[in-house]
């Protein structure tokens, strides 16, 4: 698929490329679905393994990129570059999802991150954002390499398998947390995220926040759960980082004036919630994290779709959301739904995800973590409601804001996922539980 994309890039036909992309992604989705149904498990070399866990993530990332591509097709000035870059990134995500070795994770992450730097660069919006991302990513690479070196020194191998070493291993674990913390937007390794999100066009922000950051979380999950599961001290740190991350995201989001910046901080706080499940280090916790990763991915992409619509009119401030309901009812409704879902309204995926996460924390004995998570949700009410109220405040002289049909479709997909899987979440819960069970068999 990547090859095909390159060819199409050279031949140069936007529509053809888009169509081919969609077809390929649908093909991947269909084949993953087949693999899931047949329960296919296989190992490629010593570095990649196809199993329910990776199949779940394959399907998730492909579906996410599908929606992002639909948004990008309309809003990107150079869709074809984006298509190539995003396909490289998707390959990287697949590598991370299926990794059985630290090296695969390393390569996959780089493959997922570096094309994004170029995509931001090529969108000609903010060279600064691209440069920042690139430099910080380089630092993270350095730290990650160092962690791998320590890891190799202790284990004489790269395999992702349970290993509890001495202090050197523990330090390697901390370095992993730091390096992957950058990829997964975990405080305090995430300080540049809002800059990058604001500096990129909305569809790329959707890609970064919806897919790339999730890959970071998945990688972190794999490293911590598969290697360090017996090292309980490390998981205390994860719990503490989770608290720091969600508190940081929520408190700073409170005072934001820019819509995208606010959503950037809100996605940081969501990363904090997702960490709860990893900190719990139980099959239930992993399943809850996977559920929330899935749920937040589509919510975030959907929100970015609407931000893309607003960006066309240069409306980037929260105050400029005022009167959106009068101009485009559908956009205001979808945006409110996404935000309510992030707060945790019943019958949306956000509610189920949070419920699963808090329950898993409680069942793992981390009651305090669940309570802090709930306090954080209370804080988050204020900034989400502020935006919702703004959209439903009436404004004089608003002219109708027409929504392009492809964009409307992309947002519609996200809305449907948020509601349908909120009302009837069982399929997704089963898939996530299945995936988590494969990764971390119940004891």
């Amino acid at each position: 698929m990547v090859l095909f994309n390159l060819v199409f890039r050279l031949l140069g036909d936007k529509k053809g490329q888009f169509g081919m992309n969609i077809v390929f992604m649908l093909l991947i989705l269909a084949s993953t679905a087949l693999m899931m149904l047949s329960g296919y498990v296989g190992v490629v070399g010593n570095v990649i393994s196809i199993n329910p866990f990776s199949e779940f993530l394959f399907a998730m990332f492909t579906a996410g990129l599908l929606v992002v591509s639909i948004i990008a097709f309309h809003y990107s000035e150079n869709y074809m570059d984006f298509a190539v870059m995003s396909n490289f990134a998707l390959l990287g995500m697949f590598a991370v999802s299926a990794a059985t070795s630290v090296i695969t994770i390393f390569l996959g992450l780089e493959l997922a991150t570096i094309p994004m730097v170029f995509a931001i660069l090529l969108s000609k919006r903010s060279i600064e954002a691209a440069a920042k991302l690139f430099i910080m990513a380089s630092i993270a690479i350095a730290v990650l390499s160092f962690a791998i070196v320590l890891f190799y020194g202790d284990t004489n191998g790269f395999a992702l398998s349970e290993y509890s070493g001495g202090e050197v291993m523990a330090f390697a674990g901390l370095l992993f947390i730091a390096a992957l913390g950058f990829e997964a937007s975990i405080f305090p390794f995430n300080v540049l995220i809002p800059d990058v999100y604001t500096g990129s066009p909305a569809y790329l922000t959707g890609m970064l926040g919806g897919l790339n950051k999730k890959v970071g979380l998945v990688a972190l999950m794999q490293i911590l759960i598969l290697i360090f599961i017996t090292n309980k001290q490390l998981f205390i740190f994860v719990a503490i980082l989770s608290v720091l991350t969600m508190t940081y995201g929520n408190v700073v989001a409170l005072v934001q004036r820019n819509t995208k910046r606010m959503l950037a901080y809100s996605s940081i706080s969501q990363a904090g919630y997702i960490l709860i499940g990893i900190a719990a280090a139980t099959p239930q916790g992993v399943a809850a994290s996977l559920f929330q990763i899935f749920s937040h991915m589509f919510i975030f992409i959907g929100m970015m779709g609407i931000v893309a619509l607003l960006e066309k009119r240069n409306r980037t401030e929260i105050d400029e959301l005022i009167g959106l309901n009068g101009e485009n009812r559908y956009a205001a409704f979808a945006m409110s739904l996404f935000m309510l879902s992030l707060i945790g309204l019943p019958f949306t995926t956000g509610f189920i995800g949070k419920l699963l996460l808090f329950l898993s924390a409680v069942n793992a004995g981390l009651v305090w973590l669940a309570v802090i998570g709930i306090i954080n949700s209370v804080i988050s009410i204020f900034y989400y409601l502020k935006a919702i109220m703004a959209m439903y405040t009436e404004k004089d002289g608003g002219r109708p804001l027409k929504m392009n049909r492809t964009l409307a479709f992309a947002v519609f997909v996200c809305v449907v996922i948020t509601i349908v899987l909120g009302v009837y979440p069982q399929p997704l819960i089963s898939l996530a539980t299945n995936a988590a069970g494969y990764m971390l068999p119940a004891t």
Binding site: I139, I177, F358, I374, S377, T393
Partner: protein
């Protein structure tokens, strides 16, 4: 069958909104929807059913619907008052546009409350609770071209959402403690478990109840909620929303029975009781007097629950719905006819005899005169609390003031002067659909008295309520009856003389000075006002006032937020430095916490 009854209003409402374009027809459709589910009510049976919803490894979560005598009582009030409110709205909402939105929101609200009434586990309760918050927000802010309405709705939603989230917190903790979310099992285990987790869970649940039932310090939103249309106020205050909190407290009474919890409820409700009674006596907005009286009644119920008089509280709960809806209907008629909202401008109510007399029934019932149901509910609680001297004394004092303020309210409405004569035609043209429900409700305030003697038999039909400490039928001792009748009469006569006859003119000044402007009263009022408005207004107008509010409060987190915001638009050097510092912090803390 229960599910059908509960969801019928909403489904029919959606259907009607989808199919009917005409403004005038939609209201009939809404009334039919309300009536249909009320008509189905006799067909239900007591019982519990669980629909599976989430299957998580080892722990299934389902939606449990359970019908007990207690929930049947609430369900019938919700549907009955709901029907009256819909009929009343058919007349009231004539001048207002956007009927379709109003009726849809109203029916959704009714469905949410009906679901709440039959919830049998925390999941169902939470869902209903959350949708109550949302629909009430929509209804309070219904007149969305009024800024004050939007602000009020925002305040209500913010306060109530805090309760929603503490409710999730308590649910998670209950799961941790009991391993189940079914009410029946939790109640049976409640006495046996003692742990700090359970204590925190109960406190979180209490916060949720206080926010919903507008208890101190979360009571402000209910007053501002008067910005909604009058039928909404009537419904909100009589049988839905605010009653949800009290109902949850009754339903889960064994959780609150322990002394280390009940003193909190007692304190909060006593403070609310004093505050709201005094506020009702000095309020000059027609609807807000009644709103404060709702808060007062809620705190009386909470007081009774905290002292173990649950059965009396349940009866009070039942009775209050009727006269409260009636009084709001009355104020709606008066306000519509005069076009004013201030008590000293709204008068001449006597012009419309039927509405006037019906409202009088409501007034007498609220004050607690024999043989109105208000007498039995008020005195019933006091009689059950004879052993509890502070509570008894408090209730006796409140009884005088209650009849004082409600007669004051009615006196203002009854006054006749030159201007009020000009209102008479307006009163006479008030639509019948607004007046007739009032007459029926007035009859019900009398009829409900009979329930006093049969309520304990009715409730014990299901074994579900065996945990209630008061199993014996309610009774009122002769001394209590006499004492309260005298107290009420004193308050009523005093108020009548001051505000209607105006024969104690000089008295008004000194009385005002004592009650309203005396230094101690004033001081304590201001202290309380600062606390409550600081809390609720500060939170709800977060966006506009964030800066100065937190500056004045000196809360550092948000200021830190501003600080961090500055950092985050900084240069790449800062980012790299923070990244490295983060790693260092991890290492250092790991070194100290784990290795040393």
């Amino acid at each position: 069958m229960i599910a059908v009854i509960v969801l019928l209003p909403l489904l029919l409402g959606m259907l009607a909104v989808a199919l009917i374009r005409s403004m005038s027809k939609i209201r009939y459709a809404a009334i039919i929807a309300g009536a249909a589910s009320l008509a189905l009510l006799p067909l239900v049976n007591y019982g519990t059913t669980t629909l599976p919803w989430l299957l998580i490894a080892g722990s299934d979560i389902g939606v449990t619907i359970s019908l007990t005598p207690l929930s049947l009582m609430l369900l019938s009030i919700v549907l009955l008052i709901g029907l009256f409110v819909l009929i009343y709205s058919a007349g009231y909402m004539e001048s207002v546009l956007d009927h379709r939105r109003f009726y849809l929101e109203m029916l959704a609200f009714e469905a949410a409350m009906a679901t709440f009434a039959v919830s049998g586990n925390f999941i169902t309760l939470f869902i209903a609770w959350e949708f109550l918050s949302l629909t009430s927000y929509l209804l309070i802010g219904f007149l969305h071209n009024r800024n004050s309405a939007i602000r009020a709705a925002r305040k209500a939603l913010t306060i109530v959402f805090i309760g929603d989230l503490t409710l999730i917190g308590s649910i998670v903790l209950f799961w941790h403690v009991f391993g189940t979310l079914e009410f029946a099992q939790i109640i049976s285990m409640a006495g046996a478990v003692h742990s700090i987790d359970l204590y925190i869970a109960v406190l979180l649940l209490l916060i949720a109840i206080f926010t919903k039932s507008a208890q101190f310090p979360f009571h402000e939103w209910l007053i501002d909620a008067m910005e909604g249309p009058t039928p909404v106020s009537a419904y909100l205050h009589s049988s839905t929303m605010v009653k949800a909190g009290v109902f949850a407290a009754i339903l889960l009474y064994p959780l609150f029975a322990a002394p280390d919890v009940s003193w909190i409820i007692f304190t909060a409700s006593a403070v609310t009781l004093v505050l709201s009674t005094l506020a009702a006596a000095r309020e000059m907005h027609v609807k807000k007097v009644i709103a404060y009286s709702t808060i007062q009644e809620l705190s009386i119920m909470m007081l009774a629950i905290s002292s173990g008089a649950v059965l009396a509280a349940i009866y009070f709960f039942f009775v209050q719905s009727f006269y409260k809806a009636l009084l709001f209907f009355g104020s709606g008629v008066a306000m519509e006819a005069t076009g004013r909202e201030n008590l000293d401008e709204v008068n001449g109510f006597g012009a419309r005899k039927l509405a006037y007399l019906s409202t009088l029934f409501g007034v007498l019932s609220l004050a607690g005169f024999v043989p109105f149901s208000g007498f039995f509910s008020n005195t019933g609680i006091s009689s059950s609390l004879t052993g509890n001297l502070p509570a008894y004394a408090l209730l006796s004092g409140v009884a005088v003031l209650t009849s004082f303020y409600i007669v004051r309210w009615f006196s203002y409405l009854s006054r006749n002067d030159k201007r009020s004569a000009s209102y008479a035609p307006n009163y006479l043209t008030m639509p019948r659909s607004m007046v007739y429900p009032m007459a029926v409700l007035a009859a019900l305030t009398l009829a409900a008295s009979a329930v006093f003697f049969s309520i304990s038999t009715f409730l014990s039909a299901g074994s579900y309520l065996s945990y209630l400490p008061v199993q014996s039928p309610l009774s009122i001792s002769a001394t209590d009856g006499a004492l309260f009748t005298v107290l009420i009469a004193v308050g009523a006569v005093l108020s009548y003389m001051v505000y209607y006859r105006r024969s104690i003119k000089s008295g008004i000044g000194s009385l005002n000075r004592i009650i309203y402007t005396g230094p101690i009263m004033n001081w304590s009022y201001h202290v309380v006002a600062v606390i409550t408005s600081g809390l609720s207004a500060g939170i709800s107008e977060f966006d506009s006032r964030l800066n100065d509010f937190f500056d004045s409060m000196g809360i550092t987190t948000v200021r830190a937020g501003y600080g961090i915001r500055r950092v985050s638009v900084g240069s790449i050097n800062t980012y790299a430095a923070i990244f490295i510092l983060g790693i260092l912090a991890l290492f250092i803390s790991f070194y100290y916490l784990v290795i040393v």
